[in-house]
Amino acid sequence: MIRKPIYSLFISLLILSSCQDWLDLRPPDGLVQDEYWKTKEDVRATLMGAYQQLAQMDELLFQYGEVRADMIERDDNTPNFIRDIMDGNIYPDNELCDWSGFYKTINFCNFVLHYNPLIYEMDPTYSEIQKQGIEAEALFLRSLSYFYLVRIFKDVPFATEPTISDSVNVYLPATKDVEILAAIKVDLNKAKEIVSDDYGSLENNLGRANKNAINALLADICLWNFEYEECITYIEEIENSLVNLVPSSQWYSIFYPGNTIEGIFEVEFNESLDQGNNLYNITYTQDNYTASQTAVELLSRETAKEITRGEGSYRPTDFKIWKYCGSSNDAQSVRPSSERSSGNWIIYRYAEILLMKAEALSQLGEYDQAIEYLNRIRARAIMELKSAPDNNQAFEDLILEERAKELAFEGKRWFDLLRMGRRNNFARKDKLISIIVQNVPSNKRLVLVSKLSNPLGWYLPVSDAELERNKELDQNPYYAGY
């Protein structure tokens, strides 16, 4: 009798010994971290997550590039936070100050860069070339995201390690913009050497990192840093590639159906694959924005109306932005319903590269050469060729105007203006300020003009939520008073 309880105790002990396994449960849907990172396909799938995260930001990239500039105007359904930005009422609680989308992309890239060498050791089918190609793509996407962040917020946290677990320090202070730019230039130069030159399809070749895209980004960074010679070297590499301008008659095909010979890096959308953009909605169905008076004037300054770019950019009847909803530059036929939100968001195309070169050359005083590049764009747009202005400032204005017309509503204008305002130790900041305050009601302009003489006001504030969560961060001093 006495043995029996001892016997059952013994059984209990047996059960206890297997407890540890019995308690180790893993989710049935989805993989956990130490099960996930095993093969090259896993690395690639997360890299694609980074692209897709960028693709989800199309509306934001439009807003960052346009709303503080002069090419668009508010419409009936402009969101309130955008109206506040346009009115110069920029407070840290504005939605546009939320930078989380960029950091999601960055974090996915960091995951890829962290695990890529480990997987290379584990997966025997993973070739050196493949591994390097993946690394190059992650470096490119991360650099592109930081380039946006630096241009929008100036000094930002510079995360280069993934948030693998709660042991990672996520409370990063801001790093100086110049340091970030220097670091990403190093990364990009490395990526350029190892990036893949063919992904097997046109969409992939243009929708993923490629040598031209990396050179274009490097050129853009150099232009932002006013490093003109270096900028030209990168552009020359692009010129030596197969990329070319599309003919005048097919100019609108850059936007619809997209992926033309002119493309360098386009964020790909395809509604039939359930990858639709938001651009169609914000520019067409929702009445969020219309082409501004400035845009309309620019595109009809020289002739009554630019034939190619005019109606290809906006619809004259209601000033709707046409690049993301039309099917040709007649400003009449809307895209077929199955492809409405299939239009790509173009980050770089060859026309911009040529204008970048014109800008770099003109800043170096090579006016004759510079005007040639500018005129190539004008010729394609079937516009009268220009002769070179005789001074730096006039040339700068000429290029700015041409960029505004060629790249209207492509999320470029605000950064172009900012580059101009910063150039030569803020020599032309008054012009930038006068453009910013155009949107503002007249009674508020004076106050805003004096405020904006501080160039820090050209950047957005760090959002409230982010400052509350991260005590290592300081607010942009321009907004610190709020």
Binding site: P5, L25, Q52, D166, S167, S201, D274
Partner: protein, 1087 residues
């Protein structure tokens, strides 16, 4: 392929887990010797009472074999005679009856017996079940010797189970237990708090029914505040009449033995079991009327139009008045926008409850049973919200032998609840409050003829037809039905191996199936044909299963009269599985087709599943010397699958000592003191995070699941390497005194609880990490301190007339001692209409709130002048008076709200924010009593809370006058013309005013209240009269719940819930409807 494999795996795991528990069970069964049948002999006899010689009717006579196994049994007849067949002429017979001492006789070959039973107070049931069931189900400590802090509320016994009585209500009965109802709005949230908020997130006490912890999904709309026996019955899905007692465990030393699930307190619920004796059959019928008292008076259509015109005019000037509020008989919708609709009245109805209950119980020596059947229908107080529930229960006890007992509890509940669709976070009732009263319920054409349809414009003056739907149309046409099936089945085996050693195995299965169907037909809401809300349908199915096993070994050596010693070893397993799937569709071809799978546009199909497992071990040692010195020591180990391997196990000790000083000789001199006990306890418990897989960085696809043609997989959350148990340490000092043979009892307690490594749910981290939050973060310390006092007296205890009274009072102070690193203690530092800046500070209780000081209304534009500290106007460089402004962007004008410019800088901004109050009650508790006179009885129960402030958010919403929602009649007294300066007038109406409704003391009020929670009268029909009718008993009772509230608070209900999920919480009253009143008439018959 993979899927089926998973399912097989899962089934395998469940079976294996269950098998582990069952192995022990089977081994024990196999120990039993099987007996061979033998020849039988008949014994005849009679039983009389020793003192009077009267025959004892209904006594049981049983034969045991040498293994103490029951072989046969019988019951004495009206003359006290019995006849029984025995297998062995030398066997022993045991005779027993309720109210008599049990007697054991050896037959020694006799064939006739005359037994004399002595009457005694010993409950035979306790002898047979060896006092297990009435003790703590885990530690087996008798109630009298408990040294922790716990309170038991016994429900009325089965014979007098009349209507719901005051004694049955838990609220206000137990000190330290704060149950709060938020409002009378059906579907409004509320909660139960035992001794303050000890953790963040959904801190909910563990509910244990008959020793089985229930895996109960407590809906957010469960009204714990009004929770009494009825509601708790609903909660655990059993008939309230089945509940025998509810016990609240308050300190960690008491709840520690229940492990991590009991970290927020434990409610032990016991149901009735069968008693030996004649079969009894009881019936109860209950009819209840629930009435929603009149809500806040809202504006009529005409008053609303006037208000909107003013709002419009003040904001935009005198142009472009929308046609809906402009008196224009040519407007085609003129008749649709010029009604006076009482939306709340239109969706409210009196609620009728019909409750039928039948129970049968009884049993003999071997088997006892209790079975019940309950059917309830409730029509609901909102249009089309009926509810019905059927529940059954069987509690079976079987004595295989004197040593071995087997029990089975089985309960099944089916409930069906119809509801209304909620759209964009607004349900029918909340919409009825904001919906424009000038709109008509039914549509009229432009000539004023009704069209027969509901009036559902795609856009109205207030907004689109989905955000501002027609509540009557939604209530009448939409459906939102939930069906639940719950099965709880538990087996218990109790084996007395040796006199000092007992083993018990408990295995329980719970199964909950829920199916929810919702349908929104297009004619119920104003949308265009392309909208997803058109003929929207959804179906959700979920299945929860839970298997628990518990093995207990009780070692109770007999060490003489002076020493009582017991040790319990326990081992528990717990595993749960949940599977769910949901299907959403829209644009089904017709509003008659409401199955989401029928040719509609499928919007999404989702499914999920999860497993959770836990193990627990307990060593419990209890020692008592001379019935004076009581000590208990428990050590519990908990392992949970929610933690990583390195932090999986938590060890939680607890200890308590008690001194029954009344037993000491030197206390004998105190006259009247019948019992006195001093208790001190300390214990730790652990708490685990909510969801089973939160610690993993789950990698999954997103939507869209591809970039170009490349698949996408990304990490969805941050892996938690540092997730660990939250520990709660609690000290408790208690004193129990009992005077004059329990005629006056007193319990006082002081406690201190500290929660360490607080689990913060969804802890926000910088978005520069690429993530928004950590699912959990351990950090910080929270303290709860308090005291409780409970006094109960029975001043009159005569047979025909008795009175009892009770009173309790508690205080709890809740303070943060430490925050996690990098914690931000200020959120929402922006201010605006309807917002209170929120702060949390070390050393301050949760629930403090801050805001502006409201000084009234600026009577005119000239009056708006910023002043210096000495009251002189602030002048600008030109010498002009500077007007007071809001944030430097808006200059106040006549009719605007006036706030105090504390720092006299001419600007109302964050610097003018001050401390406004604290939402934690200083004192709370209840008092009540009962009077019994002959066949009548009356009971009452009050509850009260005092010393706290409330933000009257309802007033904020209904008196702001800056949007297009309907407002309360209070706004009729508002500023209208320049120079108007009246006492207590409200600011002007102004559509979208930036600062007229800032968070200020305008809406802060004291919440003190006393409520008559329960009042009941019962009449019990005279026994002789009942007997003539051939019945056993008959009761009629009238119960009124939440009848009266005494308060100075101007809102609807000063009882506000606490939100422990948020360190920035403060008390806001969002109840637009006062607590409903319940009137219940019930009668019960016993056969």
């Amino acid at each position: 392929m993979n899927r089926t494999h998973n399912i097989k795996n899962k089934i395998g795991r469940i079976v294996r887990g269950a098998a582990k528990g069952l192995v022990l069970l089977l081994i024990l069964f196999s120990m039993q010797n099987v007996l061979n049948a033998q020849t039988k002999k008949t014994i005849r006899g009679s039983i009389i009472e020793k003192s009077s010689g009267e025959p004892v009717i209904g006594a049981t006579v049983v034969e045991y074999d040498k293994n103490k196994r029951i072989i046969s049994g019988t019951v004495t007849d009206v003359n006290g005679n019995f006849q029984i067949s025995v297998t062995d002429p030398n066997t022993a017979l045991v005779a027993s009856c309720i109210g008599y001492e049990t007697m054991r006789v050896d037959l020694n070959g006799r064939s006739t017996l005359e037994l004399q039973l002595e009457s005694g107070a010993v409950d035979i049931e306790e002898v047979v079940i060896t006092a297990v069931s009435s003790n703590d189900p885990l530690t087996n400590v008798a109630e009298r010797d408990i040294t922790g802090s716990r309170v038991k509320v016994d429900m009325l016994n089965s014979q007098i189970m009349g209507g719901v009585s005051a004694e049955e209500a838990l609220q206000g009965q137990v000190s330290g237990l704060d149950i709060i109802s938020s409002s009378g709005d059906p579907g409004s949230g509320s909660q139960i708090v035992i001794r303050g908020l000890g953790s963040l997130g959904n801190a909910k006490p563990l509910i244990v029914v008959d020793g089985i912890s229930m895996d109960i999904r407590i809906n957010d709309d469960f009204d714990f505040g009004g929770a009494d026996q009825e509601d708790i019955g609903d909660l655990v899905n059993i008939a309230p009449q089945d509940i025998k007692s509810i016990e609240v465990l308050k300190d960690a030393a008491s709840s520690a033995v229940w492990g991590s699930k009991g970290a927020d307190g434990v409610l032990l619920i016991e149901t009735f079991r069968g008693r030996r004796g004649k079969t009894t059959l009881d019936y109860q019928g209950k009819y209840s009327l629930n009435i929603q008292p009149p809500p806040i008076p809202m504006l009529s259509g005409d008053e609303f139009i006037m208000l909107q015109l003013e709002e419009h005019h003040n904001a935009y000037g005198a142009y472009q008045v929308p046609p809906e509020i402009a008196y224009d008989p040519d407007f085609q919708d003129f008749y649709n926008y010029n009604a006076n609709t009482d939306w709340i009245g239109a969706i409210t109805q009196p609620g009728f409850v019909n409750d039928q209950y039948l129970k049968i119980s009884g049993g003999g020596e071997k088997t006892r049973y209790f079975t019940s059947l309950n059917y309830q229908t409730n029509s609901g107080t909102t249009l089309n919200t009926p509810f019905s529930r059927i529940s059954t229960r069987i509690n079976l006890d079987y004595n295989i032998s004197e040593k071995l007992k087997f029990s089975v509890n089985f309960s099944y509940t089916n409930s069906f609840k119809e509801g209304n669709y909620s759209l964009r976070g607004k349900n029918v009732r909340s919409m009825a409050y904001v919906k424009a009263p000038n709109m008509s319920i039914y549509e009229y054409d432009q000539f004023g003829n009704p069209t027969g349809d509901f009036f559902n414009p795609i856009n109205s003056y207030q907004g689109d037809g989905i955000s501002y739907f027609n509540p009557v149309a939604i209530a009448s046409l939409s459906s939102n039905d939930v069906t639940q099936n719950t099965v709880v089945n538990s087996f218990l085996l109790d084996y007395n191996i040796l006199p000092w050693l007992r083993f018990r195995e408990t295995v329980s299965f719970q199964y909950l199936n829920e199916k929810a169907n919702a349908f929104l037909p297009y004619n119920a809401v104003g949308t265009d044909w392309l909208n997803n809300f058109k003929n929207q349908a959804s179906e959700t199915n979920s299945v929860d299963t839970k298997i628990t096993t518990r093995s207990q070994l009780f070692i109770i050596p007999r060490l003489g009269k002076k020493h009582n010693f017991s040790t319990i070893l326990m081992y528990e397993t717990d595993q749960r599985t949940q599977d769910w799937s949901t299907l959403n569709s829209s644009k089904s071809p017709s509003f008659d087709v409401y199955d989401p799978a029928s040719n509609a546009v499928i919007r999404n199909i989702r499914s999920g599943s999860g497993d959770f497992r836990a193990l627990g071990g307990l060593v419990s040692i209890n020692y008592k010397y001379r019935d004076r010195y009581i000590t208990a020591f428990n050590l519990r180990a908990d392992g949970s699958s929610k933690f990583g391997a390195n932090r999986r196990w938590g060890i939680f000790p607890s200890a308590s000592i008690g001194w029954r000083f009344s037993e000491e000789t030197f206390f004998n001199s105190i006259k009247g003191l019948s019992d006195g006990k001093l208790r001190l306890s300390y214990g730790q418990t652990g708490r685990e995070p909510g969801n089973p897989y939160d610690r993993h960085a789950i990698y999954n696809t997103t939507n869209p699941s591809q970039y170009i043609d490349n698949p996408v997989i990304i990490p969805q959350q941050v892996q938690l390497d540092n997730l660990k148990w939250q520990t709660l340490s609690s000290w408790n000092l208690g004193l129990d005194l009992s005077f004059f043979k329990d005629a006056l009892t007193f319990t006082g307690e002081v406690y201190r609880k500290i929660t360490r490594d607080l689990l913060w749910p969804k802890y926000e981290i910088p978005s520069s990490s690429g993530f928004d939050n950590l699912s959990w973060l351990n950090g910080g310390e929270l303290e709860n301190r308090g005291w409780e006092l409970y006094v109960m007296g029975r001043p009159i205890t005569r047979d025909e007339f008795s009175v009892n009274l009770s009173f309790n009072i508690s205080q709890n102070i809740n303070t943060f001692l430490e925050f996690p690193d990098n914690f931000n203690n200020e959120v929402a530092t922006t201010i605006g209409n309807g917002q209170y800046p929120r702060r949390a500070s070390i050393g301050e209780p949760i629930g403090s709130f801050y805001g502006f000081r409201y000084l009234g209304v600026w009577p005119s534009n000239e009056s708006v002048v910023a002043t210096n500290a000495d009251g002189t106007p602030i002048l600008d460089v030109n010498g002009d008076k500077v007007p007071l402004s809001y944030m430097g962007t808006y200059n106040f004008q006549g009719g605007d709200a006036k706030y105090e410019d504390l720092n006299h800088d001419g600007v109302i901004d964050l610097n003018d924010v001050v401390y406004l109050g604290d939402s934690n009650p200083a004192l709370f508790g209840g008092f009540g009593g009962g009077v019994n006179w002959k066949d009548f009885s009356m009971n009452f129960q009050f509850l009260y809370r005092t010393g706290y402030q409330i933000v009257n958010e309802v007033a904020m919403d209904t008196e702001g006058m800056l949007d297009k929602n309907n407002q309360s009649k209070a706004v009729l007294h508002r500023w209208r013309v320049e120079g108007q300066d009246e006492e207590d007038m409200l600011p002007r109406a102004y559509l979208g005013h930036p600062a007229n409704n800032l968070g200020s003391d305008r809406y802060v009020e004291n919440g003190d209240f006393i409520r008559l929670n329960n009042l009941s009268f019962r009449y019990r029909m005279d026994r002789n009269l009942v007997k003539k009718l051939g019945l056993n008993s008959m009761d009629i009772a009238l119960t009124m719940r939440k009848l009266l509230t005494f308060t100075r608070y101007s809102g609807q209900d000063p009882e506000i819930p606490q939100d422990s999920s948020d360190p920035f919480w403060f008390g806001t009253d969002q109840a637009r409807t006062p607590t409903p009143k319940f009137y219940t008439l019930s009668f019960s018959i016993g056969f």
